[in-house]
């Protein structure tokens, strides 16, 4: 796709750069830009009111002591919310769990499994490929709460995972109680791997067969070939995919909330759940927003990196 996008923009260019007999005056050009840009307006208004607006509010609320109860007036409190956060055990716990959740499910789980699936599919028989693809994508298409409910049933003490472990004479346990963060991470892998698989299928499809065959003729084994030839060729896709996986995983709420409510205790309470609890259960909108702002900034940083990876295409 990289190549086709580049060719497309190359095709599009002659138009703008087309014959320009006499240079129009500045005023005419400004007017022309405005008229031509008019169709962007509805999108712009919607984005300004409902996306930029809330982000602006986010920055503002984060420095106030706004509460849901509305009993007292909202005051500007400077950096208090942030100071409070970094001193709070619950916040640090949430940061740590978010890190574990993201690394386990996005970086290791979805990304690696997605790549493995895409790579294996190139060598598998057609039927197996079709069935696996369908199942993995089905898990992705299902609504979030349904997926959460299915995985909840799977990991429950009396659920299917323990049934299998029993059958294999392996020790079973109450996964949602002993290792809740692992259970929700696996759930996220189950739900999100399709995305990586699709990205990598597209990327691998563009690796020219001749290059792989040449490596084969030179006596490279499959692993060597993958490591030295294929992976370097698709490194941009790897970067993009890692970023997108991370960004999606950072904002996972419904999956964890449905499966564990962040519990038991706070042992699967990632940042979005912590933010929710503080803002709505404890009515600390200001403090919750400060947590949200930090999440937004981290997301923004990742998004900026992702953009740099795509930069040549804008």
């Amino acid at each position: 796709m990289t190549t086709s996008v580049t060719t497309m923009s190359r095709q599009a260019q002659p138009k703008g750069a087309g014959p320009r007999p006499s240079r129009p005056s500045r005023a005419t050009r400004t007017r022309r830009t405005l008229v031509r840009g008019l169709p962007v307006l509805p999108a712009l208004v919607l984005l300004a009111l409902f996306l930029a607006g809330p982000i602006g509010y986010c920055v503002y609320y984060a420095f106030t002591d706004m509460r849901l109860s509305g009993a007292s007036a909202t005051n500007f409190v400077g950096l208090d919310n942030f100071r409070h956060a970094f001193a709070a055990e619950g916040f640090l716990n949430a940061v740590w769990l978010t890190l574990v959740f993201t690394v386990l499910s996005a970086v290791v789980g979805q990304n690696t499994l997605g790549l493995a699936l895409a790579a294996l599919m190139r060598h598998a028989s057609k039927a197996v490929r079709a069935v696996t693809g369908t199942l993995v994508i089905a898990a992705w298409v299902l609504p979030e709460v349904v997926a959460a409910y299915l995985l909840y049933a799977f990991f429950r003490k009396e659920g299917e995972l323990n049934a299998i472990l029993d059958a294999l004479r392996l020790p079973s346990q109450n996964w949602l109680y002993t290792l809740p963060i692992l259970a929700v991470s696996m759930a996220n892998v189950w739900r999100g791997t399709a995305f990586s698989m699709l990205i990598y299928s597209a990327a691998l499809g563009e690796v020219p067969r001749e290059i792989e065959e040449a490596a084969e003729v030179d006596g490279a084994g499959r692993w060597q070939q993958l490591w030295h030839v294929t992976l370097p060729l698709i490194r941009r896709s790897i970067g993009t995919n890692l970023m997108l996986n991370t960004l999606q995983t950072l904002s996972v709420f419904g999956l964890i909330y449905t499966m564990t409510r962040g519990g038991p205790g706070d042992r699967s309470q990632t940042l979005p759940l912590y933010m929710y609890e503080q803002a709505f259960k404890n009515s600390l909108i200001g403090y919750g927003t400060a947590v949200a702002l930090m999440l937004l900034v981290v997301g923004g940083l990742f998004s900026a990196v992702y953009m740099r990876l795509l930069r040549t295409e804008v």
Partner: protein, 275 residues
């Protein structure tokens, strides 16, 4: 060489079969439990086989109203989002301007922002401007949050439509909007369909946004009502819950299947997204 290929295929098939089984188990449980009279949490042959689970959830309160709310909510937001995206993508794809690059960069940046993080301020804002617990307010927000990605995809699809035909239309005196409707859109309808279905599927499954912004029970979409169902009766009525899950998932599964049959589905999306 051929021996090596055969072994490789066997190994690949075996590995994929294991992964496929892991992905299949929860799905299998869902289907079997929905027709099982005594469903528990294990994968089991329905005993007794029954359609009772479906019959007991197919009523206004449990299924019809939430599904209709979902349809209004997601259908409205998808229409708004795709409409705005088509309009916005046209100048972005066709003209050159100093403003274009910054705008596209902002759009791309916004596609990555974790929407979850803005939900607390959105709630605060909706309370202040009195949009809380209104369908149209939620529609606006859902549309806005999906818009950056929709614009980005739509522009990429539109870039794929060659300019030659349009130039002919322009010479014949057609306005840009006429050209968009009569020439560009008919040529890129698969792209529009992919964006529409993808946007709709994502919204249909969205739980957090309606969970926060809608409060009255009679306005809740299926994503929230299934969650409440689960919290309230989750420990007892596994069969009914599974039946409701099947009903609630059906529209998006069908949509996705149609899309992938006709248009290459997710593979097309993966390609358009980045590769």
């Amino acid at each position: 060489m051929s021996d090596r290929r055969r072994t490789e295929r066997l190994v690949a098939d075996a590995c994929l079969a294991v992964v496929a089984a892991c992905f299949a188990l929860p799905l299998l449980w869902l289907v079997l439990a929905s027709v099982n009279g005594h469903a528990d949490l294990r994968v089991a042959v329905p005993h007794p086989f029954t359609t009772g689970n479906f019959r007991s959830v197919l009523n206004t309160d449990t299924t019809y109203r939430p599904m209709l709310n979902s349809l209004v909510l997601c259908g409205g937001a998808t229409a708004l989002c795709v409409g705005c995206a088509v309009l916005a993508a046209y100048p972005l794809s066709r003209y050159r301007s100093r403003l274009k690059r910054p705008f596209l960069i902002t759009i791309l940046f916004a596609t990555g922002l974790p929407i979850t993080a803005v939900m607390v301020p959105v709630y605060g804002m909706f309370v202040q401007v009195d949009l809380i617990d209104t369908m149209y307010g939620t529609v606006y927000f859902l549309a806005a949050s999906a818009l950056p990605f929709a614009i980005w995809l739509m522009k990429n699809f539109m870039d794929g439509v060659p300019m030659v035909l349009e130039e002919a239309a322009w010479t014949d005196g057609a306005s840009p909007m006429q050209t968009l409707r009569r020439v560009v859109l008919p040529l890129m309808w698969p792209g529009v369909v992919v964006v529409t279905i993808y946007t709709f599927i994502a919204m249909w499954g969205n739980f957090f946004v309606p969970y926060l912004l809608l409060l009255s029970p009679d306005q809740l979409p299926a994503s929230v009502s299934i969650f409440n169902f689960f919290s309230a009766r989750g420990t007892v009525q596994y069969g009914q819950l599974a039946a409701f899950s099947v009903l609630y998932s059906l529209p998006v599964v069908v949509l996705y299947t149609v899309m992938s049959r006709r248009l290459g589905g997710g593979f097309a999306l993966g390609g358009a997204l980045k590769g």
